[in-house]
Every structure is written in structure tokens, then in C-alpha cells.
């Protein structure tokens, strides 16, 4: 499984680090659609993503990832479904310093339900060092209560290595799904038999 291109999505609330994560990873100058943020009450940040971020990454083995970041705010929800088209996996960035990070997570789990159903999802919890609650165990319990078995990792998306671990984790899920689909095709009645 090499030489393929895959589209993956970074999503999460405003200020969770989607633009930073893509900038940390991309081997091309990232494409950004940042505009001035006029909602300083929601987040003290000079700019915000209005449409998407875009970057590219070549993995060991030759597979290429197209990295898309979504706008965080719910008023841009229409962009989430546009960007999700053709995506094989989603990384949800959760900001643990926000008032209710589990509720935040629920918004993205619900809105990316099609991808969630495939199991190709990874959750990254940020700012755990300064805001340890809820812990990763609480996240796992929250997910299990919803019958979801999804990897949850602590991450500082300013660190390239942390973002790479997220992408590797997601990509291993995608890879397993692709291999399982290929094996199912091979086992299907009428499949070509090799020599």
C-alpha cells in the first residue's frame, strides 16, 4: 500500500490548533484562508480560518497525504461537510482549557458521523499540562459509553513530532481498513484467482 494519495481532515474548536498542526507538518507552504477575527469574546486571537487550511505530506513508503483544516466555529458547519467529501480520516483537536471539552468533542463526532462510522478517527487533546481535567481516561469512558473505540492522545500541535504521531495513528487505521476491504474483495465470489 504505497504511492497512494489520501485526504485527511483536522477539525476542532476555534483556537484548538488546526492551522498550527498543518503548518507543523506540511512540506509545502500551507495554504491559509485566515481573516481578521472580530469575535474576540469567543477567543483572543487575531485571525481565524474562514474556509480551510491546506498542506501536503509525503509519508515513508511514498504515500502522500493531503491535509485539510476546517474552520472551527459552528456557523461554518457547511464547510465541514464540503471538506469531508472524499476524506478517509479525521483528526479532532480538543482544547482541554475550554469550559466543556467533551461537549465540544460531541459536536465534531456528530458532524463527521460518516467518517466516525468507518472508525478512521483520532482524537488529540491539547493543553492537558495546564488543564488536566477531563483526563484521557474520562475521554475513553465518554467514547465507550457511545460504543466508540477511538484512539485518544495527548498532543501539543506546536510540536511536529506530536502531530506526526497523530497522523501515523490515523493512517494505521486507514491502512487497516483499506487492507480489510481488499481482502474482502479478493474473497468475494467471482474474484479472479491467481496462478
Amino acid at each position: 500500500m504505497s504511492g497512494h494519495e489520501y485526504k485527511i481532515i483536522f477539525t476542532g474548536t476555534m483556537g484548538a490548533g488546526k492551522t498550527t498542526a498543518i503548518a507543523a507538518l506540511s512540506e509545502i507552504p500551507p495554504v491559509s484562508t485566515d481573516v481578521p477575527n472580530s469575535d474576540l469574546g469567543a477567543f483572543q486571537k487575531a485571525t481565524t480560518t474562514a474556509a480551510f487550511d491546506y498542506g501536503e505530506l509525503t509519508l515513508d513508503g511514498g504515500n502522500r497525504l493531503r491535509l485539510y483544516g476546517t474552520p472551527g466555529q459552528e456557523r461554518f458547519r457547511f464547510m465541514w461537510s464540503i471538506l469531508a467529501r472524499g476524506a478517509l480520516g479525521v483528526i479532532v483537536l480538543v482544547d482541554n482549557s475550554r469550559p466543556d471539552p467533551l461537549a465540544d468533542l460531541g459536536i465534531y463526532i456528530d458532524n463527521f458521523a460518516d467518517v466516525v462510522a468507518t472508525g478512521c478517527l483520532t482524537i488529540a487533546v491539547g493543553r492537558l499540562d495546564t488543564h488536566p481535567d477531563p483526563s484521557l481516561d474520562v475521554y475513553y469512558e465518554w467514547l465507550l459509553a457511545r460504543d466508540l473505540a477511538i484512539p485518544v492522545l495527548a498532543a501539543d500541535v506546536r510540536r511536529r513530532d506530536d502531530v506526526l504521531v497523530l497522523v501515523d495513528t490515523l493512517f494505521s487505521l486507514i491502512e487497516a481498513k483499506v487492507i480489510a476491504a481488499e481482502e474482502a474483495d479478493a474473497m468475494a465470489p467471482g474474484a479472479a484467482v491467481g496462478d
Binding site: T33, V35, S38, D39, G41, A42, R75, F76, F78
Partner: protein, 131 residues
């Protein structure tokens, strides 16, 4: 309408009055929304069923894509974004005001002349820039 970012209600009212005047002058305009660059409605007039808040958010994304594409293509600043659909035309124009930039979205009915919509939007932009 989102209530956080555009707190100058007197200015908002003046811009609202200008939108009403624009719609009166150009009957082919079915909706006009003035919004911040990050997608908050500032003023609107509507003769269609689309929520102005939704138009404001979509305008923000669409204009951001246009601006980024212009920039990546070496075409410098994006002046406007035009959507020509089967049943009408949408014109989005960026307005640089003294305080902060705004976006004007005009939705024209089927048969509306693009030149008329562009002229009206630029006239509006020139007036609104002084507010």
C-alpha cells in the same frame, strides 16, 4: 444576527439604511447582506428565504477562498467574487472601511444584469467606506 462583534449600532443602522436604498434602486436585488470578514451579519435586507446569518458565514468562506486563490495565483488582491447560477447571480464585494473591512453580498434574481449588480455594489462600497 450574531451580537458580539459589530457593536457600533449607530453605524449598523446607517449601513442598514444604505442597504434598503440599494434594494429600492435595484429591484432585481432579492437579498443583500453586509457582514464582517469572519462571517458575522452586520446588516441585511431580504426578499428570499435564506437566513442572512448563513449568507454571512458562506460569504466569509467564499471570499476567503477567492482571496487566497488570487494571492496564490499572483493576481494580488481579490476585488470581488461572482457566482453565476442557473436562476440568478451573486456578487460579493470587499469594502475597506476606516475601521475594519466588510463584505457585501448581493443576490440578484434570474435575468439581473451582472453589470448592474456590480455597479450597485461598488456604489454601495464607496459610500459605506466613508461610514
Amino acid at each position: 444576527m450574531f451580537d458580539q462583534p459589530f457593536r457600533d449600532s449607530a453605524r449598523s443602522s446607517r449601513l442598514q439604511a444604505r442597504l434598503v436604498a440599494l434594494a429600492d434602486a435595484v429591484p432585481d436585488v432579492v437579498e443583500a447582506v453586509l457582514s464582517t470578514e469572519d462571517g458575522f451579519e452586520v446588516a441585511s435586507i431580504g426578499r428570499s428565504s435564506v437566513s442572512p446569518a448563513k449568507v454571512a458565514a458562506m460569504t466569509s468562506s467564499l471570499h476567503a477562498v477567492g482571496a487566497t486563490m488570487s494571492d496564490e495565483s499572483g493576481l494580488a488582491a481579490c476585488r470581488n467574487v461572482i457566482v453565476e447560477a442557473a436562476a440568478g447571480t451573486i456578487v460579493i464585494v470587499r469594502i475597506a472601511t476606516r475601521e475594519t473591512a466588510l463584505l457585501l453580498t448581493i443576490v440578484g434574481r434570474h435575468g439581473a444584469l451582472l453589470g448592474t449588480l456590480l455597479f450597485a455594489s461598488r456604489e454601495f462600497a464607496a459610500a459605506a467606506a466613508k461610514e
